[in-house]
Symmetry: C2
Subunit: 220 residues, 2 copies
DNA sequence: CACTTTCTGTTGTAAAAACAACCGATTTGT
DNA sequence: ACAAATCGGTTGTTTTTACAACAGAAAGTG
């Protein structure tokens, strides 16, 4: 556990909290650590959860497979990111998607009730954690809206332009890499892979973009 | 202002807080009331906001129009619902969509900084409000994911089935009404109105559904 | 290194959607 | 009540997508 404190310190949940405080909060928040091999499920659709989680190692995908096997990737979760917080509710709603490790990963879980109910006597940093959690879910909300903006576009080309433009913007450069391979990008944008691959090549032929593997460059 | 307390009491933000406490918190939270005529903008894309808001009367749409005039409706906000909370962030992000009154509406604004920083001396109900806000944004998050599930479907028919099934489920009946007219439903599902209208009629002819205006019934 | 698996691009076909244009019904405003 | 505006359905055409099948490139494995 010890060696993960530095990662937690940089995580969104514990931003602004010192090493010692984090250590002392871990038991207070009911922290438990688990590891997952690539391909293993962290959460499954329909489960009822009482935990929020932070990725300490690896990478996860929030995804949903429908009855016919079409996969939709809702979000990617990297090291230090929070997840599960959207299922905190008084009614106790169940998960509507899976969370899967796409690399070997380590995840730490916290009892959500202990997180949101700030014990009056307890650690003075607790309220910072609550605020952090709030910022995190707020940010996730914006990301979901941004994703909706992409997939709301009518054609594959428009979806790609919308997504790639945003990546360029957030990485502050016309040259950037994306965290998806082709199949994953297609699943993220909700289009057919081969059709998307085809469209990417047409866009390259039209002089709009250059790419090689997951490195892209927007032209003009 | 007085007559709105009963509405606020039923709102998600003040759930579990008594009338008197709400009254006394209003000034503490920097409450301000505004009214909007149908069609007027409450928030505009690009604005920087420091408030969260609760609808007291009427109905709003969170929507986005792209460069070519295609409108995407991201969410509908009814009386008692909270909005703006997704733009609470340490970095102070700007709005990426518009919020428009689709009926004559009344909205109350609260200074978000005063909401999330619980003054040590202050009202004991403040922490309830913070938790409520958390639940509210958490629920909104789930709604966004649900919307993504709908529009990730490949065909218009699948999108319609996905959406209508969920409405039936959440209204606990195979017969239900939806809060959209045809154009709005098309904008919500990111499809062309006429194509959608066409598909709805085909589904009716196939014996899947019945409908009249915004009343629907799922068959079988 | 050979072998397997995964990834990416390519092509053709069938299905579906977008788009445009139109009309009748309904609703709204005065 | 009447004119104007909005709404919902219909049709035909064009564009786009999904789907399937395949092949070369790249990456992983023993």
């Amino acid at each position: 556990m010890k060696n993960y404190i530095s990662i937690l310190k940089k995580s969104k949940l514990f931003a602004g909290v010192g090493d010692d405080e984090i250590s002392s909060m871990l038991s207070c928040l009911g922290a438990r650590l688990f590891t997952y091999k690539k391909g293993e499920y962290v959460f499954r659709q329909g489960e009822h959860i009482n935990d929020i989680a932070v990725t300490l190692e690896g990478r996860l995908h929030v995804q949903k497979d429908d009855y016919w096997g079409n996969r939709s990737i809702l979000a990617e979760i990297t090291v230090g990111e929070l997840f599960g917080e959207a299922y905190v509710s008084p009614e106790g709603s169940t998960l509507i998607n899976d969370v899967v490790a796409i690399e070997d990963s380590a995840v730490i879980f916290f009892d959500v009730r202990r997180v949101i109910t700030t014990c009056p006597s307890a650690c003075r940093f607790h309220s910072i954690v609550v605020q952090n959690m709030f910022f995190a879910i707020s940010e996730k909300n914006r990301k979901l809206v941004q994703k909706i903006v992409h997939i709301s576009k009518r054609t594959t080309r428009e979806k790609l332009i919308s997504y790639l433009s945003e990546e360029a913007k957030s990485q502050n450069s016309a040259s950037f890499t994306i965290p998806f391979n082709r199949q994953q990008l297609a699943d993220f944008l909700s289009v057919d892979r081969s059709a998307m691959s085809n469209e990417l090549c047409k866009m390259r032929d039209d002089g709009l973009i250059e790419f090689k593997k997951n490195s892209f460059k927007l032209l003009q």
